[in-house]
Point group: none
Chain length 255, copies 2
C-alpha cells in the first residue's frame, strides 16, 4: 500500500474499465454512462475520448458509444492464443510418440463426430487412413461416446432418441445399453471401442472442455486391430489418454 488508506491502482484505468464494462451492457451516451458509473459527465466525456483514441470504443450512427474494434482485436488475440487445435497438437504428438499409433482430435457435431486433426507416426508403413474432416457416427466411435458420457443427461436423452446403425456385429445400438455404457465411461474417464465402427480399427478416446467450459471435444488413439491395442494394458493406456485430455483442458482453461 503506497499511501495510507489508498487502494493500489490507477484511478483513470479503473474508471476507463468501469466505462467499458458499462458499455458491455449496451450502447450508451455520456449522460447515461455518467449515471451508470457515478462519474461526472466531463470525466466520462474525457475518458471516452481517450478510449476512442485507443479504438476501445466508438460511436454508432445515433451518437451512442459502444465497444470498439480495439476490444475485438484484443479479444481475437486472446482467443487466437488458445486455438483448440494449436493447443492440442503438441499433446497429440507426444501421445503418438508414446504409442506409435495415429492420434486424432474430434468434435461432436449433432449425432456425428468430426476429426479436426490427425497426427500420424511418420515412420509407420501401415496406418489408419486420415479421417480429418470426415463425419463418423458418434455411437460407434470412442470420441462420441466419451463426449456424450460427460454431457448433461438431457443431451444424452436427446442423443439416444436417434436410430443407430449396426456398422459391425460388435456395434452397440440399444439405447438402454448405451446409457449404462455412458455411466461406465464417465467413471473410467475414457472410452474403448473395439471393431464397432469398422471391423479392423480399435480406438480409445477421452473428452475435454474448451475455453468456454463446454465439453464438445475429445482426443483418441486408433490403430489397426491386428496390432492395436495388442498387449497394451487397456486401462493404463486409457488413463494416459485421459491425462492428456486433462492437460489440454487445463491449458485451455487456466485459472
Amino acid at each position: 500500500m503506497w499511501y495510507a488508506g489508498r487502494m493500489a491502482g490507477v484511478q483513470s484505468v479503473e474508471r476507463a474499465f468501469g466505462i467499458l464494462r458499462a458499455l458491455s451492457l449496451g450502447p450508451a451516451g455520456v449522460t447515461d454512462l455518467s449515471d451508470r458509473t457515478g462519474l461526472p459527465k466531463s470525466t466520462v466525456s474525457r475518458l471516452l475520448s481517450a478510449l476512442e483514441e485507443q479504438k476501445a470504443v466508438d460511436q454508432n450512427t445515433e451518437g451512442a458509444y459502444e465497444l470498439g474494434v480495439g476490444i475485438a482485436e484484443l479479444g481475437t488475440a486472446l482467443r487466437g492464443g488458445q486455438s483448440v487445435v494449436e493447443v492440442a497438437r503438441p499433446h497429440m504428438v507426444e501421445l503418438m510418440e508414446l504409442t506409435g499409433e495415429a492420434v486424432g482430435l474430434n468434435r461432436l457435431d449433432g449425432d456425428q463426430v468430426r476429426t479436426l486433426l490427425q497426427v500420424d507416426d511418420p515412420s509407420s508403413s501401415v496406418v489408419v487412413r486420415d479421417w480429418t474432416g470426415v463425419p463418423t457416427p458418434a455411437h460407434a466411435v470412442p470420441a462420441g461416446l466419451a463426449i456424450l458420457a460427460n454431457s448433461s443427461r438431457a443431451a444424452q436423452r436427446n442423443f439416444l432418441q436417434n436410430e443407430f446403425d449396426e456398422l459391425t456385429e460388435n456395434t452397440m445400438t440399444d439405447p438402454a445399453m448405451l446409457l449404462l455404457r455412458f455411466e461406465q465411461i464417465r467413471t473410467d474417464g475414457f472410452a474403448w471401442v473395439i471393431e464397432e465402427f469398422t471391423e479392423d480399427i480399435s480406438s480409445v478416446a477421452a473428452a475435454f472442455a474448451d475455453a468456454n467450459g463446454r465439453i464438445q471435444f475429445a482426443i483418441h488413439i486408433h490403430g489397426p486391430s491386428f496390432r492395436f491395442p495388442g498387449d497394451v494394458d487397456r486401462e493404463e493406456l486409457g488413463n494416459r489418454v485421459a491425462a492428456t485430455a486433462q492437460r489440454i483442458e487445463a491449458q485451455l482453461n487456466p485459472d
Copy 2:
C-alpha cells in the same frame, strides 16, 4: 486542444492500452513490457497491477503477464452478446406492474452495489428516489447480499474482511452473522432487507448469472417501509423476484 502542445487524451489510459496491445503479441514480464513500450519498469508494474484488478491481465504459472478474462468478457459483450440491461428491462417492468413499486437492476462493484437501471411506477406519487449510478454498500442492500450469497466462498471471505458501517440500528455488520445470512439467502433464492440501508426503505432482491455464467447482477424491488412490503407475503414475493431473475438468466444463457 486543452493545453498548448498537449494531445487530447488520458495518459494512463493510453499507456494501459499500449501494454494490452503489447500483450496481444504474447505473454511477457515487466522488463519485457518495459522494453516493448518504452515505459519505466515501475510504471509498467503499477499499470499491470491496475489492469490485474480489472481482470484485463493476469499472470500465468511462469509469472509472465497475459491478457485476462476481463478482456474476454468485453469481447463476449462485443460479439453480439445480449445486453443485460436490455434483456432485464421488460422483466423489470413486469415485476413493477405486479407490485406497483420501483424495480432496480444492480451490479456488485467491489464492496459496493451500483444501480444500473431503475423502473418506477409512473402513476405512483410517492416513490423511492432514483438510485441509478449511486454506489450503495453491499452488506446493507439486498442485491449485494443476494449476489454474495451466490458467490464462491473465497469471494465471501474476501468481502467479509471489509469493515461494515452500521447505517441504521438494524444493519447487520458482524461477519459471522453475515456468513450465516448468506447461507440462508442462498437456500431461499432471495434476500430481504428491512430498514438496514436507510430507515424508511425496505427491499427484496435475487441474483442472476450473466452470459459468462458469472453472478454479479441482481434485481430488486424496493419501496417506502410505510407501505412496503405491507401485507404482502414476503416469501411469495421473494419467490416472484427469484423467478424473474431466473427468467433473465435463462434469456442471457440460452441452451
